[in-house]
Symmetry: C2
Subunit: 178 residues, 2 copies
């Protein structure tokens, strides 16, 4: 709290005065971030084109969001490690994300561009890979060590393309794989 | 520390006596879990059959590991939120996982069952979805709310099948998708 109020040029009581409590400040910050994320995902989902392209733009929206807010991934993971559901304003924005992804998945199934799939599962695949990369990417070189060649200077662009490939191929209509 | 030593029927000094410090106890617990995980993944990777089937068994190994150790996902996420690389014994076991997955990905590319892909990216896709589900599954009903129908009684089996589908389809050899 001291670090936050100092960075804001305010006194220690400012958080209580403006937000009511430390918890409510946390909820306000989380809510602000997730509202922006939901807006980006809704905009990507509403673009024209075939469903696989719109899914790829949703993945791009996630990567752009985390590039703009590198601290957001750790905040979201922190929510998960608490083991209790996020506060209601955060839930409302997470549901906006689900609704936007669900619309694309349903359009794609109708047009036979995507296989019919529970939208929550499609959302799960997009969200898990995007958040995980945002949280873990700074640790990847240490984890990969000498096992793997480096993935190139622009790791983020490489992984974004990979996640886009896996999502579109993984959800594409077509033959059963082996 | 009090809770841990009490559960072990030991006195408060036992951790320092046996492990040297609280940090070293943490490292030992993390290392023990990741050694088991690496063993399960290596066994799945070493099974006979086509590469897509072996990838599916690796996904199953992750889900079985987290079913046996529900607390492990939060411990791993906690590592990520620290923002510093895991301690060396943990890294060694994470690299065993990467090596096992890389072998399957290379066999699959050689046999043209999988498209040629950087093994680290394939591992990323498998690990991110598996750990995310283990950490988030108890929160999914609250997040999905009224947006989605429930995914059935055995959520874990449904998601395991879905992740297996996405991984095998997403990495399969074949036509470029739309």
């Amino acid at each position: 709290m001291r670090a936050i109020t100092q960075a804001a040029g305010a006194n220690l009581g400012a958080v209580t005065y403006h937000f009511g409590s430390k918890w409510r400040l946390y909820v306000a910050v989380l809510d602000g971030l997730l509202a922006e994320l939901a807006g980006r995902v809704e905009a990507a989902a509403a673009t024209a084109g075939v469903a696989p392209d719109r899914l790829r733009r949703i993945v791009a929206a996630y990567f752009a969001f985390f590039a703009a807010h590198p601290e957001a991934a750790r905040l979201i993971l922190h929510q998960l490690t608490r083991g209790t559901p996020p506060p209601e304003p955060a839930l409302r924005n997470l549901r906006r994300v689900l609704v936007a992804i669900a619309a694309v998945v349903r359009d794609g199934a109708t047009a036979r561009e995507l296989r019919p799939i529970e939208p929550l599962l499609a959302a799960f695949t997009i969200v898990s890979q995007s958040v995980w990369f945002a949280a873990a990417h700074s640790l990847l070189p240490a984890i990969a060590g000498s096992v793997h060649a480096p993935l190139g200077a622009d790791l983020s662009a490489t992984v974004e393309r990979h996640v886009g490939d896996v999502v579109t191929r993984g959800l594409a209509a077509g033959e059963e794989p082996i």
